[in-house]
Amino acid sequence: MENIIQLRSVNKWFGEFHVLKDINFSVSEKEKVVICGPSGSGKSTLIRCINRLEEHQKGSIIVDGMTLDENTKNISAIRSEVGMVFQQFNLFPHLSILENCTLAQIWVKKKTKNESEKLAMDYLRKVQIDDQALKFPGQLSGGQQQRAAIARALCMEPKIMLFDEPTSALDPEMIKEVLDVMVDLAKGGMTMCVVTHEMGFAKEVADRVVFMDEGNIVEEKKTSDFFENPENERTKLFLSQIL
């Protein structure tokens, strides 16, 4: 299968801190990959490099045939094909939920207002908050906000979805409603890279699990193998703490 995301010996430093050490990582089309690991292991930075919210300093990243470099045209082309969901939702508080979803369609894809609202309502219905469309983010619960953020990303009709700890900022009773939406999305055939500690979600959805520690990919296996036969000591330790 074709690799839609391809990282070759990617290195990144924050000042002196070597956050990504020679990372080789790829995702094929329609594959679902869960990335886990202790905090500070570089997992968020890794997926933020994929849509160039972070710049890598060495190595190459190719997304859907396009190489990530200084070229601005490439970056915006890649960003409209890669959706991202953040830990803190990052909805635009001065716009209604509907406007959050239509903004990029109107300004980036140059669609009409009617068209973009129609598509936005479709996705809002899919994440089951179409009845909240005219409210503002501040009026919604955390779970609803995160579902709106997922809808906002989907409105660009991306080929790949990146999730950066999407449930970490949520109250426990709201985690499930967000995970349900993500499971639906996975079943629909979306290519997904998910940074999460929700191992239940990983077991249910992921094709592959990647374990990172101190800037390295320590272990990378098919989901069932990962949970049943972890090889690395650090992976075992991590799993014993989290499960």
Partner: protein
């Protein structure tokens, strides 16, 4: 003793049975007390004034002022009334405040954004500017511009000539006066153009919503602003000539006659007020932009918006709501600080009315009251406008 105690206890009981009375009684007593004091003071003042044979009332406003004002936007000479002098002072205060507010805002935004620059030279320069001017007394800055800078300009004969039409000397800055023919056509043309541009912008928004087509609104608006007035000028014979100021020597004293003169007092005051206030506005702007979560820009970038779009659609609308309320305070401060004009004799309302007019008429109470109410009105008008604007950009929260 026991009788009094009994009464007090009964009253106490009454109060706890009637919470409304308990709540309003002390406040009512306070109001009555205040009225008594104000009544006493004004009775005292008016009887004192009457005893000294000083007239009271506002009739003086219609009397001849018999003093000259150095700088006035409306016609004024010593044969006109105190009421007219008040108007001159008020207009001069408004003039310097409006100039100050406009320039303070522009300079403030510029330095506020510059201070956030990633270029250390640019941000260092901005920090230096802000920290220096913010921490020096405003009065001193007015003196600096007036005595230290503008006084160094040459005498009228040796005027500094800039671009062949601006003449600067110790008596002020002189620029050509515009002499128009058919000016009204031109003004109608401009009004029509503005109207047309508003309609065009609405049309462009609707077009974008309906068809997804993005017209270059800004460029087309600028184009219209140039084309339509030029057309009007060419068709209706509107013409503009400049009446240049000319150096004339009268009884050994040379001066520029004709043209428009801007007195050094106005320049110094406008400079000092704009620069001083701009530093505070710059800090508001910086706080406003820093106050926006980094995640907002990342989220906007992640759905493909460009840097300019992020600034226009995400950052500025959110930053404004943080910037506006403290900036309103700065506008109010600037307007009130303009009364420092008195120190360099710029004829603002305080100098002309609460100064000269008060000295000549002795109507201290009336004049001070009018001046106070004037400042209060100006401040309230600014507040109302800014609150209205703030509501427009405010967020809908829970």
């Amino acid at each position: 003793m026991s009788f009094l105690q009994n009464k007090i206890e009964k009253f106490d009981q009454y109060l706890s049975d009637h919470p409304k009375v308990k709540f309003f009684l002390p406040q009512a007593l306070l109001v009555v007390f205040l009225f008594i004091i104000i009544g006493y003071l004004s009775f005292n003042a008016s009887s004192n004034l009457a005893a000294r044979g000083i007239d009271t009332g506002f009739s003086f406003l219609n009397k001849k002022a018999s003093f000259d004002i150095q700088f006035s936007m409306i016609e004024f000479d010593s044969s006109m009334t105190y009421g007219r002098a008040y108007l001159v002072g008020l207009l001069n205060t408004i003039l310097v405040s409006v100039i100050g507010i406009i320039f303070a805002t522009i300079i403030g935004f510029f330095f506020g954004i510059l201070r956030l620059s990633t270029n250390p030279l640019a941000s260092g320069l901005a920090t230096c500017y802000i920290e220096t001017l913010r921490n020096i007394s405003l009065l001193l800055q007015i003196f600096f511009w007036y005595f230290a800078v503008l006084r160094l300009l040459p005498s009228a004969e040796n005027s500094l000539v800039l671009f062949n039409f601006v003449y600067a000397n110790i008596k002020g800055i002189y620029i050509p006066r515009f002499v128009w023919t058919n000016l009204s056509f031109f003004i109608y043309g401009i009004i029509f153009t503005i109207f047309f541009i508003i309609i065009f912008n609405k049309y462009a928004s609707i077009l974008r919503e309906k068809t997804g087509k993005h017209l270059p609104k800004f460029l087309i608006s600028i184009g219209l602003l140039i084309i339509i007035p030029s057309f009007v000028v060419l068709t209706f014979g509107v013409s503009l000539e400049f009446s240049h100021p000319k150096l004339e020597v009268n009884m050994g004293i040379s001066n520029y006659i004709g043209g428009v003169s801007i007195i050094p007092e106005l320049i110094a005051l406008a400079f000092a007020l704009s620069l001083y206030t701009s530093t505070f506005i710059a800090e508001n702007v910086r706080a406003g932009i820093l106050g926006i979560d980094k995640g907002q820009k990342e989220a906007a970038a992640s759905i493909g918006l460009t840097k300019t779009q992020i600034l226009k659609l995400i950052v500025i609308p959110q930053a404004l709501r943080i910037i506006i309320p403290p900036t309103t305070n700065q506008y109010l401060n600037l307007t009130k600080n303009s009364s420092l004009a008195a120190a360099i004799a710029y004829p603002d309302i305080v100098l002309v009315f609460a100064g000269t007019a008060l000295m000549q008429t002795g109507r201290a109470i009336e004049i001070v009251t009018i001046t106070m109410l004037t400042y209060l009105t100006l401040s309230i008008l600014i507040s109302i406008f800014m609150n209205w604007y703030n509501k427009k950009v405010a967020l809908t929260e829970k």
